[in-house]
Symmetry: C2
Subunit: 411 residues, 2 copies
């Protein structure tokens, strides 16, 4: 009988408890022994709840119980989660977490702690919710150099953009629906809509690929607030849909570029048909070519089932799993991990005439001119050229409202 | 330094050697030590080839060398592969293979041997080529009951059907192109086009899901020979494409159904857009919902990279990995693993008038009547009703040329 503890009994934490109860037989078969939750750490009151006898208020109860071999962390954030997880790893307990913020910020340190104390630090649920992404990507890494990762990793914004495409809604209306359905936070949806959640996830995947910590603050991140129904319609004219893409590229010289930004995705591209709350991550390996992992991103039970899979892995393989995901500590770099490669771009410029926009951006075409200004498609430009063009636009009294890179067609 | 041997230096075997050379640095980092090929077992002559000094003609050389920890089997078939692999496992060497025929036929026995001798028997490359499917599916299985698997697992037939859809070709022309491009065997393409290759793959996935051996001979298997350009056009009228689908379902009572058959796939279904030589496997978990693993199926280096990933796994985790994929021996069942659930069907009937077809099949509509007979879409029927209808068709002098189940729209 393996005993575990759950830190934080919110949506995911209570989901872990539910999965362990409902699929006790198959979990036990896979883990080689039954798995029992002995403690739940949570400040809330659970009077009358069947889990009430398990609830403790002090992490020390868990740290001092030698029966506890694995700890699940589903508190979220870093204020409590980080010191608790550190203490667990230092005491030799394996930790399984869904906490992307903590992994993106302290991953290297926590992985090193786990190695030092001969236990595992696992976080499959931190990217893609229940969809296996971290483990198969690690598997690809065994025999491949991964050169590129490109994904839709935030279900909330993907749901909103799907609504905007299908029903011609504007950002605010799509957000309202997402909030009503519980897909977006009502109080402050900015982690999702401004791309911070996606940024943490691509930071985690980038760290795996590069073998050293890549920090969210070095990844240029833009969300979807500036997207209008008119942009969606213009994208359609260009044979594309708009998706929030999190990406990373590893150069032959070891250089790393990464970003989170809304992009034009040509309809022939495999990511174009990833709709609603689904997530998909495309991985390019030098031996393997392209593979895609696709599934419903978030949700209580899917995410919890990924955490439980990690628990089984930690119980069975202990310290040996952890090596697999190892990346080295590194300092944040100065500046941003931008990509100098040219691409096709969509720009929306306000306040100046289409002819002026055309003169400034060059090779391309006006896609839409329903207001003063226009939506313009530039066939080929790089970040420097775009910055230079933006300065010229401002110099003549206009302003650049939106810039969308177009992804390649293939895939 | 880990020493390994490769049995069979054909396409995949030489690919394994190439991947180990080209990505030696990353393989060594992941495995925790450099990996060196010490022997290659192959009856062919390799005079002048750089691998010549490694070539041996007798398996005993490998079995008697205590330095060899892992053996790669890429001979194919079962005549030599099966006794060699048995001997390796009995001597405590882990075996990594891409040989679907051997795994589908002798999987349970070889897994049990590996367990007994404290080594691993791994076969990621046997399904989906380089695309990780076995490992992430096993990961899903840790916390989920998998209720359904549905996939496109044969790149050759998928390439041919894609050609037939896009270019209106008939079966024979599409086969000819596939042979010219090296996607289909020139001498005898029947393993691919008659569905036997897909059958072995779904037998392997079914065995994993069920926890006991499911045999290819119990899985009803039909290939794509009967598909005509007219069927493809009729499918289009019904908003569908034709794909060769390998599927399995686990009933709540533990009953198993499986099949390989060309199906109508509605365009909204995630599998409809899996084209060319790509493979995709959809897995439904009770906690997780749907996940899809997608990638280029076959190819020398992709497949080899999956074998190398298994080698790394075997070196690092040894016997502990193997448990994960374990399924129990079982005898083949009497009869076939058919599914009694009703579905919508497309039937093509020759030799009798459309009005007679309509009278026999009932609720439905004529889709095409360009010849004596017609293509008919039946809204709801089960296997028994279809068999009964086929008898009636024959009684009035007609014959059923093709039956295609329609997959559901969702996903």
């Amino acid at each position: 009988m393996a005993k575990i503890a759950i830190l934080g009994f919110g949506t995911v934490g209570s989901g872990v408890y539910e999965v362990l109860c409902r699929n006790a037989a198959s979990v036990s078969r896979r883990a080689g022994e039954p798995v029992e939750v002995k403690y739940i750490l949570d400040p809330k009151d659970f009077t009358g709840n069947p889990v009430e006898p398990l609830v403790v208020k002090n992490i020390d109860v868990i740290l001092q119980d030698p029966e506890i071999r694995v700890v699940v962390e589903t508190i979220g954030g870093t204020r409590f989660a980080y010191p608790y997880v550190k203490a667990c790893l230092e005491s030799g307990r394996s930790v399984c977490t869904s906490n992307k913020e903590m992994v993106a910020t302290y991953g290297a340190e926590l992985l090193a702690l786990a190695k030092e104390h001969d236990c595992a630090f696992l976080f499959e649920a931190s990217v893609g919710g229940g969809t296996p992404i971290i483990t198969p990507m690690h598997q690809c890494l065994a025999a491949n150099v991964i050169t590129e990762v490109e994904g839709i990793v935030n279900g909330t914004t993907n749901f909103m953009l799907t609504k905007m495409v299908r029903e011609g809604l504007d950002f605010e209306d799509a957000l309202h629906i997402a909030q009503e359905l519980g897909y977006a936070e009502t109080k402050d949806p900015s982690d999702d809509v401004d791309g911070r959640d996606a940024c943490r996830k691509i930071a985690i995947l980038s760290s795996m690929v590069c073998g050293h910590q890549i920090y969210p603050q070095n990844i240029p991140t833009r969300g979807i607030r500036a997207i209008t129904a008119a942009d969606v319609a213009s994208a359609e004219k260009l044979g594309c849909v708009i998706k929030l893409i999190a990406w990373m590229k590893l150069g032959k010289d070891g250089s790393v570029a990464a970003g989170v930004e809304p992009c034009l995705v040509p309809k022939a591209n495999q990511l174009a048909s990833v709709d609603d709350v689904f997530n998909a991550v495309l991985v390019k390996g030098d031996m393997l070519g392209d593979v895609v992992f696709y599934g419903k991103g978030a949700g209580k039970l899917p995410t919890a089932s990924a955490v439980v899979a990690d628990v089984v892995d930690a119980l069975k393989n202990g310290a040996q799993v952890h090596d697999s995901l190892f990346w080295q500590p590194a300092d944040p770099v100065d500046g941003m991990l931008t990509d100098p490669a040219p691409a096709a771009y969509y720009v929306r410029v306000a306040g100046i005439a289409p002819a002026v926009v055309e003169a400034i951006y060059g090779y391309g075409k006006v896609v839409d001119e329903r207001y003063e200004g226009c939506a313009y498609f530039v066939e080929r430009a790089d970040e420097r050229a775009l910055a230079e063009a933006a300065r010229k636009v401002e110099a003549v009294g206009g302003s650049v409202k939106l810039v969308l890179k177009r992804l390649p067609e293939e895939v």
